[in-house]
Amino acid sequence: MKYSTWSLLRGALTGHRNWPAAWRDATPKPRYDIIIVGGGGHGLAAAYYLAKNHGITNVAVLERGWIGGGNTGRNTTIVRSNYLYPESARLYDFSLKLYEGLTRSLNFNIMLSQRGLVMLAHSRHDLDSQARFANAMCMNGIAAEMLTREEVGALAPALDLSPRARLPVLGGLTQRRAGTARHDAVAWGYARAASALGVDIVQNCEVRGFIKEGGRVVGVDTSVARIRADRVGIAAAGHSSVLAAMAGFRLPVTSYALQAMVTEPIKPLLDTVVLSPGTGAYVSQSDKGEMVIGAMLDLFPSYAQRGSFAVTQAVLAATLALFPCFSRLQLLRQWAGIVDVVHDSSPILGATPIPNLYINCGWGTGGFKGIPVGGWTFAHVLATGSNHPLAEPFQLQRFITGRLIDEAAASGIAH
């Protein structure tokens, strides 16, 4: 069913009782061409692009819980492409461009809002490093602008801009094409489009092992059934290491909890995304009016989707220093997602040491913005067995050769 003004009107006239399910909740077949483990944004996008770009529709997405219920439902919905190195800039800007056309190509409103993102400079050192950052972005063909304190104030008047502020704002850096998108809509939009092309989306199906023959992966053992496949792809974010251990290899990944929280909804106050890299706090306002607050990592290995109170407290203190007018808002919800952090904060997109087994992981704190390109390039390697040119620099092998793409150390970006 194509969604349009007419379908909406028809729905309204029939009391919204006759909407068909957006996608088909499948039971697994005994064999597929390709199985994707993980029904988050990356897994669903890969399934969609396998069908759309490569014509491979005998595909299953196996999800342990419900689709979009992991990190896809636990992030702060920010999309941007402000990275330092050419490889990253190409990758993330391709993703942002796909996001820009996604509502139309999926026929599902992902509520993309390119409201811009402002990174605050709190010191002379921040200003210097942001100038370097802006220049690098412009060299990579991605528009970036340095802002004065007054310009930051015009974009986010609720900030404490006084010279005596605990975190003084000296200026900032903006990417105006950055913004937010509706996370559930991204998962459901990809699921609906993939399902319409014949992909099986299987929920409540936990992978418990890999079937191997002659050292090659030929299927998966799940809580539901034993399913064979020609190729298997893992897109499991914070649980990548667990699946890798089942398959018999290791990853350069450590799993950490990354927290976020929302306040009670208020009237429109902030129409851009504000990021304070120095404190790790970032804030935007959701369409419902909640202030969405993200934190830095809880810096110890964790698979608990809770988050430590010590970090909650630190990020809220920083947020209140930036926006004193939030002081009487009440928090509605706080949660954490388990993110797969690698040493250079760049993803791993390609082959594993086990034949027929591929992996999409290592997005760490920034997986949501990478969903379209992660899915696109993962579908390419799963379909053809060779890397998409955009994914070529992001191979597991770089941790042996030392050819890291070090967005973590170089740019000091938050996520």
Partner: protein, 87 residues
């Protein structure tokens, strides 16, 4: 917030400590190849369950020590000295 038993000071709040990752990593010999060094520097078991890890009471006595901690429940199962072997 976790309460972490510093080997020197006893139970203190998690915010006084830093975690320095997996314990008992063995540095490869100088003549070993890139694969061995890559494994040492970057690759980890990253278990969902019991993990042996190094901690430091950075905002306290400064002491380094090892913890046996569960990465899902965050339960601390044992504490032992930096040079000790896991219980």
């Amino acid at each position: 917030m976790m309460h972490i038993p510093c080997i020197c000071c006893g139970l203190r709040d998690e915010s006084e400590f830093i975690c320095a990752g997996t314990a008992h990593m063995v540095r490869p010999g100088l003549n070993e190849d890139d694969a061995a060094w890559g494994e040492y520097l970057f690759f980890r078991d990253n278990p969902k369950g019991v993990h042996l890890e190094r901690w430091r009471h950075s905002f306290g006595c400064g002491q380094w020590f090892n913890l046996v901690r569960h990465t899902v429940t965050h339960e601390i199962l044992a504490v032992y000295a930096m040079t000790g072997s896991p219980p």
